[in-house]
Amino acid sequence: MSGEDTARAGSFFQRDRLWHPPAYTRDYKTSVARSPRLALISAANTLSEMTGPVFGHDMLGPADDDLLTNFAKPGEMAIGQRIIVYGRVLDETGRGVPDCLIEVWQANAGGRYRHGKETYDAPLDPNFGGCGRMITGPDGSYRFRTVKPGPYPWPNRVNDWRPAHIHFSLFGHAFAQRLITQMYFEGDPLIALCPIVNTIPSSEAVDTLVAALDMANTQPMDARAYKFDIVLRGRRATRFENRGEGS
């Protein structure tokens, strides 16, 4: 364990439940029967929350981070607007989080998921599976290539459409940091209309999930780039942490 890890091996900063969506959000109807009614029980971190699984870079295949080709037939590619999504995984103190497993999934360019329960009529792309994964580098950086997903209608109110989005699942270094969220695209007018986006209480928090078009990292004549940083919970230094008697 490095010196920095030792210094920052304490408990995690409290999750700000006023910043995250509440469990019960009336206009996102599925949440109504799936939200606990009783209060969460607050508990100090123990080792059970301050530890987490380890994923090695060696588990990754060469095309895991390339959704254009990782499901495509040899020599073929997914259809759609080609984009590179890149950024860093940081903790709340601003430090990069290395060795963080990121899993992503998304609809194809027409807004259709490759899933048995999908009911939207938009066509499947035979060369697009819709999943990818990567592990962050020493500075918390990651990058993957894909097509820009299409918006799609979904059964909630009579006429709800999801903005274009990519789902992100993240492991930090501890199970307390486990997070699933979604990335949206700068300039999409559907963001403001979406009941799932609007489960998030503040527009300031929503803005942190909107990736910015980044022409400086775009590959000319090839793929546009979107920058998306993700923040996981930070942790305290242990030096003055009260551990109580006998420990």
Partner: protein
């Protein structure tokens, strides 16, 4: 005005949605050939030390209907109480145990199954021993922030009685929602109720 703390805010959670299995268990979803196997499908191998157990259960919504689109993850210590984690400083955990499992649930019933070992005891923040437990994390369509809970063991009554976390739960009448029933030798059942009668205790940790 005081100085700025310059802390960042955690990225806000969004629901895992109905297609979480595409990203987290693609082979289960019928998307084969991208990854050799779904992550978290095996916690143990032939050499793993400890008492083998099987944990089964379902996740129910507030109407009593089982979820068929959830993703359930578990995280637990090995048989001696050590975590296979970079943050484990007390010793080296069993190299044949991953500690982490992930289940998409059965397509028809939503039932999850984990083949694992019974975890050893892990210290609480003040050094007292916690009862053996498995951390559960549940995400699904309609769950806006992943839900953390814990599974304890019915046949560890003495350890449960002195568990520091269980002891500080105000409504002791709810503690049984965290205790898996023993249904056979090495067989446990742990149902999770998101809402309503018998609502499982979820933690803000």
């Amino acid at each position: 005005m005081a100085q700025k703390l310059d802390l960042l805010k955690e990225s806000p959670s969004q629901t895992a949605g109905p297609y979480v299995h595409i990203g987290c268990t693609p082979n289960f979803s019928g998307i084969s050939g991208v990854y050799p196997e779904d992550l978290g499908s095996a916690l143990v191998n032939d050499k793993t030390k400890g008492e083998r157990i099987t944990v089964r259960g379902q996740v129910f919504d507030g109407t009593g209907t089982p979820l068929k689109d959830a993703l359930i993850e578990i995280w637990q210590a090995d048989a001696t109480g050590l975590y296979p984690s970079r943050n484990e400083t007390r010793g080296k955990a069993d190299p044949n145990f991953t500690g982490w499992g992930r289940s998409p649930g059965d397509m028809e019933t939503g039932e999850f199954v984990f083949e694992t070992v019974k975890p050893g005891r892990v210290p609480f923040a003040d050094g007292r021993a916690q009862a053996p437990h498995i951390t559960f994390w549940v995400v699904a369509r309609g769950i806006n922030v992943g839900l953390h809970t814990r599974m304890y063991f019915e046949d560890e009554a003495d350890a449960n009685a002195e568990d520091p976390l269980l002891a500080r739960i105000e409504h002791q009448v709810r503690v049984p929602t965290l205790i898996a029933q023993k249904t056979g030798t090495g067989e446990y059942r742990f149902d999770i109720r998101l809402q309503g009668e018998g609502e499982t205790i979820f933690f803000d940790i």
